[in-house]
């Protein structure tokens, strides 16, 4: 008799544990097979050419597929983006494409969608991996490999300077993942080449005006520099202005390499001022919709789908200027 309650308690505990385990291992929400879907796209902001190109690509692909697209723009506010996702859940979309503004705040949005039985695909930025994992809480992350972008920029620079260069690096916004990763990838390759040396590295905040001012200053302090590595095109264009104002001849006595692939930068290559640009592809539409369709068909999706990035240099820039964003 005395043992009974204990046994019940044990059984109860075991049951609870089993339910908890089941809940933790609960799979991603499924998607029904349909001809056309209603999907949401929660954009983070649209104040730069890259974002605008990304939105246009998503809208164009939705139209092409004949899917209905619910589009929201969080205007740079994580709080608004969480609310945007809420309203998409209320509207009963089949799937949500989310370009999360920040890593931690948007975990909540991902989890809410999961509980509502709506699968989420992340675009171009991630959420905190310790709190939400691809394949468990959201389908996958589609985006560029920023570390690889940095690596490719460095490899081109090593090749074009014969392994000898004194480099000024213009970093992106401090603490942002593109800036961190583009610095890391670049530094990896540079470390393997003893002739390559980063003489100065400061943040230009991904902005043309600041890129120019920081370049002016760094160039004064390091006139021996023979190369510039900018984490994005806008800063590279600012750097060109600074170089020319200081009487340097970019493309001749100093090599400039950057990342993004905007029209202005490709024109810079055509004009012979910028050496090379690693593309950071904003055209997510085709990849995103294809992934959604494959997921609906029940296929296994990799936790990270890499967007292929082009590489532009003197040989191929001219033909790409017109189609650049």
């Amino acid at each position: 008799m005395i043992k009974h309650p204990l046994r019940i308690l044990t059984m109860g505990l075991a049951l609870t544990a089993a339910t908890l385990a089941a809940a933790a291992a609960q799979d991603l929400p499924k998607m029904k097979q349909k001809q056309a879907y209603k999907v949401g796209f929660a954009q983070t902001e649209s104040n730069n050419p890259w974002r605008i190109a990304q939105t246009e690509s998503m809208k164009a692909e939705a139209q092409k597929q004949g899917w209905q697209l619910v589009y929201t723009d969080a205007a740079g506010s994580a709080a608004k983006q969480v609310a945007d996702v809420d309203s998409m859940i209320a509207q009963g979309v089949d799937l949500i494409f989310l370009a999360p503004r920040e890593e931690k705040p948007l975990v909540a949005a991902v989890m809410k969608a999961k509980r509502a039985g709506i699968p989420v695909i992340l675009l171009d930025r991630r959420v905190d991996e310790t709190q939400a994992k691809p394949g468990r809480d959201y389908v996958t992350f589609i985006g560029s490999d920023f570390i690889d972008q940095g690596r490719r920029a460095a490899e081109w620079l090593v090749k074009s300077t014969g392994g000898n260069a004194k480099i000024i690096e213009l970093q992106g916004t401090v603490g942002s993942s593109p800036a961190n990763d583009r610095r890391k990838g670049f530094a990896e390759v540079i470390a393997k080449n003893p002739g390559m040396q980063i003489v100065a590295s400061q943040s230009g905040d991904f902005v043309r005006d600041k890129g120019r001012q920081v370049m002016e200053t760094l160039l004064q302090a390091n006139p021996q520099a023979t190369a510039v590595y900018a984490h994005n095109d806008e800063m590279a264009i600012g750097a060109l202005a600074a170089l020319e104002a200081a009487g340097r001849k970019p493309g001749k006595d100093i090599t400039v390499v950057s990342i993004d692939g905007t029209r202005d930068a490709l024109q810079g290559i055509v004009d012979g001022k910028i050496g090379a640009v690693v593309e950071s592809n904003p055209r997510f539409g085709p990849k995103a919709f294809e992934t959604a369709r494959r997921y609906a068909a029940g296929e296994k999706i990799d936790p990270w789908i890499k967007v292929p990035d082009n590489f532009y240099e003197a040989s191929n820039a001219a033909e790409s200027v017109a189609s650049a964003y």
């Binding site: 590295s201 200053t217 760094l218």
Partner: protein, 337 residues
């Protein structure tokens, strides 16, 4: 007991007097002293500091801050403050490329387009400044709240005009204001010196200047003494708007691009910092335009020093704030007596 505490030995009195004299000296000479110290540090430690190019780089970078801060000095001298300067820069900066490209008016004669691209954006910014003045005078709204309206809405207006898109352009005659040289000196540096000189002269030598200081010193008294307080305030906010518009044009001309989201972002704080470091009383009634110039130069040189010597951005911000604090503290030494 009282007698003992009141009586001071002659030596002590002299010491107090000396201390007071040093304090007064510190107040008057704090900013120039800080500038000289910074210069000395740079000459010793920053590579290639003593070159003309370094001099020009610093002048071109500081010019827009000084131009805006001059207007800010006048506003602060009346006891007000103008938070909208950065947003007004954005409006002017967004407007000019629209005029140059003819998107606003249809195709124009190139010469006329350039002339309009100089005049209209500055006038527009001036009118918005006047609007600030009306809020402050007619509706008696506190300046910090009144100008907050355009601080928020102004950038919105600029973004609506351009759909938030980056505008790029190339027009050498317009860009002369940012890239040209007068007698070998950068145009915006010449502009900066001219504006500072004019404002300093106005403040010191004209009736209007007296009225500005009187308004800030004691507004009811000034009103009773017949100072046209309302007109003075309207004028200083309009001037601040005009100068902001001009600074906006300089910024876009240097970069041959205009991004309504970023032109003049944070400028109000840079300008107020320059004014504070320069020794102008933030409560009004005492102002020094030349002090503002020195204040802006100190902040600029500090930024240059930190960057050129490889101090990371995050640390640089802290050092900058500490330096501003120090400069203001030095100047406050002679006060309260």
């Amino acid at each position: 007991m009282a007698e003992i505490t009141l009586q001071k030995r002659p030596g002590e009195a002299a010491a107090v007097r000396t201390r007071r004299r040093i304090k007064a000296l510190a107040r008057g000479w704090g900013a120039p002293l800080a500038l000289v110290l910074l210069l000395a540090f740079n000459v010793l430690f920053t590579p290639n500091f003593l070159t003309w190019q370094t001099f020009f780089v610093n002048l071109t970078q500081v010019a827009t801050i000084v131009i805006v801060a001059t207007g800010m000095t006048l506003v602060i001298a009346t006891g007000g403050i103008d938070l909208s300067v950065g947003s007004l820069m954005a409006i002017a900066g967004a407007l000019a490329p629209l005029i140059l490209s003819g998107a606003l008016t249809g195709p124009l004669d190139p010469g006329l387009a350039v002339a309009l691209a100089f005049v209209l954006p500055v006038l527009a910014a001036g009118l918005f400044g006047l609007f600030n003045g009306v809020l402050v005078t007619r509706f008696a709204i506190q300046p910090i709240v009144a100008t907050l309206v355009l601080f928020i809405a102004g950038r919105g207006i600029a973004q609506v005009m351009t759909n938030g898109n980056l505008q790029t352009f190339s027009n050498p005659s317009f860009q002369w204001i940012g890239l040209g040289r007068i007698l070998g000196l950068p145009v915006q540096a010449v502009l900066m010196v001219a504006i500072v000189a004019l404002a300093a002269w106005i403040l010191r030598r004209t009736v209007f200047g007296r009225h500005v200081l009187a308004t800030g010193g004691n507004e009811p008294a000034a009103r009773l003494a017949g100072v046209p307080v309302t007109g003075v305030k309207l004028a200083v906010y309009a001037i601040s708007g005009l100068l902001s518009g001009l600074a906006g044009l300089v910024v876009i001309a240097i970069n041959s691009s205009s991004d309504a989201n970023l032109i003049g972002l944070g400028m109000e704080l840079d300008a107020i910092a320059a004014v504070a470091v320069g020794g102008t009383l933030l409560t009004g009634g005492r102002a020094s335009v030349v002090g503002t110039l020195l204040g802006a130069l100190i902040i600029q040189l500090l930024r240059y020093t930190l960057l050129a010597n490889g101090v990371p951005d995050a640390a640089a911000l802290v050092v900058k704030a500490a330096a501003i604090l120090l400069a203001v503290w030095i100047q406050r030494q002679g006060e309260g007596r």
